[in-house]
C-alpha cells in the first residue's frame, strides 16, 4: 500500500534529477542573471532609444509619435552637421596617431630593456586613472592664464604671450584630440605589445641573416603577423573614440562656438540639459550607422590585408 507514494516520490525525484542534468535547462538557468540584466538594461534601452528618436518626448512630458520629424530637423541643423564633422575628425586623427605612437611604443617596449616590467606598468597609468580626473588635469594644463605649457614656452623664449588653448576653435580641437591620444596610447601599446611577444624571435634572426633591413623586417614579419590583433585593437579604439563624451564634457562642454561638440556631447546637451529627449535620442541613434561603418571599416579593412599577403582567407 505504501509503495504507491514511494514510487510517486522516486518518480518526482528522478524527473527532477533528469531535468537538472539536462544541459539545455541548466544552461538556461545559469544564463538567467546575466540575461535578465542585459535584456532589461541593454537590449530594451537600445530599442527604446530608437523609438524615442521617433517621438517628441520632453523631460516630464510623454511624447507622441512624430515619425522622422526629428531627423528632418537635424538634417537642416548645421550644429548637428558640425558635430558629425568634429566626431569624424576627432576619431580619424586620434585613431591614426594613437595607432602610430602606440605601435612605436610597443616595439620599443618589446626590446630588451632594464626595468621592462616597471615601464610597462607605468605606461598603463593614463588608461586606469579615471578619464574625467585626468581630463581635469588637462584642463588645468590647457588653462588660458596659467598653463604650464605656455609657462615653459615663455621661459624658453619661444612665445611672448600665453596660448589660449581651449578658447579658439582650431586650437581647442587640437587640444582635445591631444588629450584623447594621451588617454588612448597605453591601451594600443600594451595590447600590441602582447601581440608582439607572440612573434618568435627566430623569424627576425632568419631575416637578419637573409640581409633584411629594419623596415623590411617590420613590413614582412611584424606587420603581417600582428594584423589580426591590430584589427581588434583598432576596432575598439575607433569605437571608444567615436563615442567619447567624458574628455570633451570636462574640458570644453562642446565650445568654443560648438567647435568641439561631438555627437555624444551634443545629444547630452540637447536631451538632458535642454530637455528634448526625443531629439537627443535621434542624435544618439544617428551614431549607430556611423559606428557600424567605422567598426566594419577597421575590422574588415585590416583583415583583408591578411589574404593579400598570402595568409589564410578566413
Amino acid at each position: 500500500m505504501a509503495s504507491v507514494p514511494r514510487e510517486q516520490v522516486s518518480y518526482d525525484t528522478s524527473r527532477r534529477i533528469r531535468l537538472f542534468s539536462n544541459r539545455n535547462f541548466l544552461g538556461f538557468l545559469f544564463m538567467v542573471p546575466a540575461g535578465l540584466i542585459l535584456l532589461v538594461f541593454l537590449t530594451y534601452p537600445l530599442g527604446l532609444g530608437i523609438w524615442l528618436g521617433l517621438t517628441d518626448v520632453k523631460v516630464g512630458r510623454p511624447g507622441i509619435f512624430v515619425g522622422l520629424e526629428n531627423y528632418e530637423w537635424l538634417f537642416r541643423d548645421h550644429i548637428f552637421w558640425l558635430s558629425v564633422f568634429n566626431t569624424m575628425l576627432y576619431t580619424v586623427v586620434a585613431s591614426i596617431v594613437k595607432f602610430a605612437i602606440g605601435l612605436w611604443l610597443a616595439m620599443l617596449l618589446n626590446r630588451h630593456l632594464p626595468f621592462k616590467a616597471f615601464l610597462r606598468a607605468i605606461v598603463l597609468m593614463p588608461f586606469i586613472v579615471p578619464t574625467v580626473l585626468s581630463a581635469l588635469a588637462f584642463w588645468w594644463i590647457y588653462d588660458s592664464q596659467d598653463s604650464v605649457i605656455s609657462w615653459v614656452l615663455i621661459e624658453m623664449g619661444l612665445i611672448e604671450e600665453t596660448i589660449d588653448f581651449l578658447g579658439q576653435p582650431n586650437s581647442a580641437r587640437a587640444s582635445v584630440i591631444a588629450a584623447n591620444i594621451w588617454r588612448g596610447i597605453p591601451f594600443v601599446a600594451i595590447t600590441l605589445l602582447a601581440g608582439l611577444q607572440t612573434i618568435s624571435p627566430s623569424l627576425y634572426e632568419a631575416a637578419i641573416i637573409d640581409g633584411a633591413n629594419e623596415w623590411q623586417r617590420f613590413r614582412s614579419i611584424t606587420y603581417p603577423l600582428l594584423t589580426p590583433i591590430i584589427a581588434v585593437v583598432m576596432t575598439f579604439s575607433v569605437l571608444f573614440t567615436f563615442t567619447d563624451f567624458q574628455l570633451i564634457w570636462v574640458m570644453t562642454r562642446g565650445g568654443p562656438i560648438n567647435a568641439t561638440h561631438l555627437m555624444a556631447t551634443l545629444s547630452y546637451q540637447r536631451a538632458i540639459i535642454g530637455g528634448a529627449l526625443g531629439e537627443g535620442a535621434a542624435i544618439a541613434t544617428a551614431m549607430i550607422p556611423f559606428l557600424l561603418a567605422a567598426i566594419l571599416f577597421s575590422y574588415f579593412g585590416l583583415q583583408r590585408r591578411k589574404w593579400q599577403q598570402g595568409g589564410r582567407d578566413d
Binding site: 579615471p130 547630452y268 549607430i288
Partner: protein, 296 residues
C-alpha cells in the same frame, strides 16, 4: 641544468639584440621611450604638485619655477576632506563600484560556465551576442536609460548605477572568464560528474578555484571600469550627496567665479589613488585581462 636552459632561453628571447650598439640604442630606443613616458606621466606629476601648492604660488609663479613646490601645503586636501562632500562621494563610488563588480562577476561566472561548459543549444550564438553587447557604447544608451531609471523610481539613487553598470561589465567579464574556463580540462569535470557531483558543486568546488587568476583579472578590470564611469552617473544622479567622485569633482568642485585649481587637482588625485593602488598590486592580472579579452 635548468638554470642553464633558462639562460639559453633568455638569450634566445633577446634575439640578435647584441648586434646593436649602445650609442645607436640611445638614439633609437632610450630617448624616444623617455619622451613618450615623460608625456604619459607628466599630467599626473602636474596634478600631484598642484594639489600641494599654495594659491599664491599657483597664480603668481612668475619668477618661481612652476615645476616644483616651494611652500607645500595640505590646505587643499584639508578643505576637500572636511569642508566639501568629497568623503561622501568617495563612499558612494566605493559602494556602487564594489556592489556592481560583485553582481557582474556573479552573473558573468554563471553565464560563462553555461556558454563554455554546459554548451546548451545556441550557446555559441549567445556567446557572440554577449561580445556584441560589449561593443554597445554607453553614450547611445544613456537617454533611454534615464527615462527607464525615472520610471522605475530609482532616479538619483545608488541603485540606478548599481543596476546599469553591469551592462558595461558583464559582457567583458563573461568574455574573459569564458577564456579561462576553456583552459580547464574536461576530465576534471567528468570525474566529478561520475562521483555524483552536481553542476553547481562542480562550478563552486572545481572550476572556480582553478580560475582564481581569471576572477581576479575580471574583478580588477570591472572595478576600474565602474570607478571611472562618468556618463551614467552624470545623468542619473542629481543631488550633491549621491554623486560619485568623477561626477562630484566635475560638477561641484568647479566654481566658475574663482578657479580653485589646487582643490580641483587634490580631488582628482585623491579620486585616482584607489584605482592606482589597486592597480599597482595586480598589474599582471590587469595586463592579462586587457590583452586576454582582445586576443580571444
Amino acid at each position: 641544468m635548468i638554470k642553464r636552459l633558462r639562460g639559453g632561453e633568455k638569450q634566445h628571447r633577446e634575439g640578435m639584440a647584441y648586434l646593436e650598439s649602445l650609442p645607436r640604442n640611445v638614439v633609437t630606443v632610450y630617448i624616444p621611450l623617455a619622451i613618450i613616458v615623460f608625456i604619459l606621466l607628466f599630467p599626473f606629476y602636474w596634478m600631484g604638485i598642484t594639489s600641494f601648492k599654495t594659491n599664491e604660488e599657483l597664480y603668481g609663479y612668475r619668477g618661481l619655477s612652476a615645476l616644483w613646490i616651494h611652500n607645500p601645503t595640505l590646505e587643499h586636501i584639508r578643505h576637500l576632506l572636511f569642508e566639501t562632500e568629497y568623503p561622501r562621494w568617495l563612499w558612494n563610488t566605493m559602494f556602487v563600484t564594489v556592489t556592481s563588480t560583485f553582481l557582474s562577476i556573479f552573473c558573468a561566472v554563471c553565464a560563462a560556465y553555461a556558454i563554455e561548459r554546459l554548451r546548451y543549444k545556441g550557446s555559441r550564438t549567445v556567446g557572440m551576442l554577449i561580445f556584441l553587447a560589449y561593443l554597445v557604447p554607453p553614450s547611445i544608451l544613456f537617454i533611454p536609460l534615464s527615462v527607464m531609471v525615472f520610471q522605475l523610481g530609482i532616479f538619483d539613487s545608488n541603485w540606478a548605477l548599481i543596476l546599469t553598470y553591469p551592462t558595461i561589465l558583464i559582457p567583458f567579464c563573461t568574455w574573459l572568464l569564458m577564456g579561462y574556463f576553456r583552459s580547464i580540462p574536461y576530465e576534471l569535470e567528468e570525474c566529478a560528474l561520475i562521483d555524483g557531483a552536481t553542476r553547481l558543486q562542480i562550478l563552486i568546488k572545481i572550476v572556480l578555484p582553478l580560475s582564481v587568476p581569471g576572477l581576479i583579472s575580471a574583478g580588477i578590470f570591472a572595478f576600474t571600469l565602474s570607478w571611472n564611469e562618468f556618463i551614467y552617473a552624470l545623468t542619473f544622479i542629481s543631488s550633491a550627496e549621491n554623486k560619485t567622485v568623477p561626477v562630484g569633482a566635475v560638477t561641484e568642485l568647479i566654481t566658475f567665479d574663482v578657479y580653485n585649481w589646487g582643490g580641483l587637482m587634490a580631488g582628482a588625485m585623491l579620486g585616482s589613488l584607489p584605482v592606482a593602488i589597486l592597480y599597482s598590486f595586480f598589474v599582471e592580472h590587469y595586463v592579462s585581462s586587457m590583452t586576454g579579452a582582445v586576443k580571444e
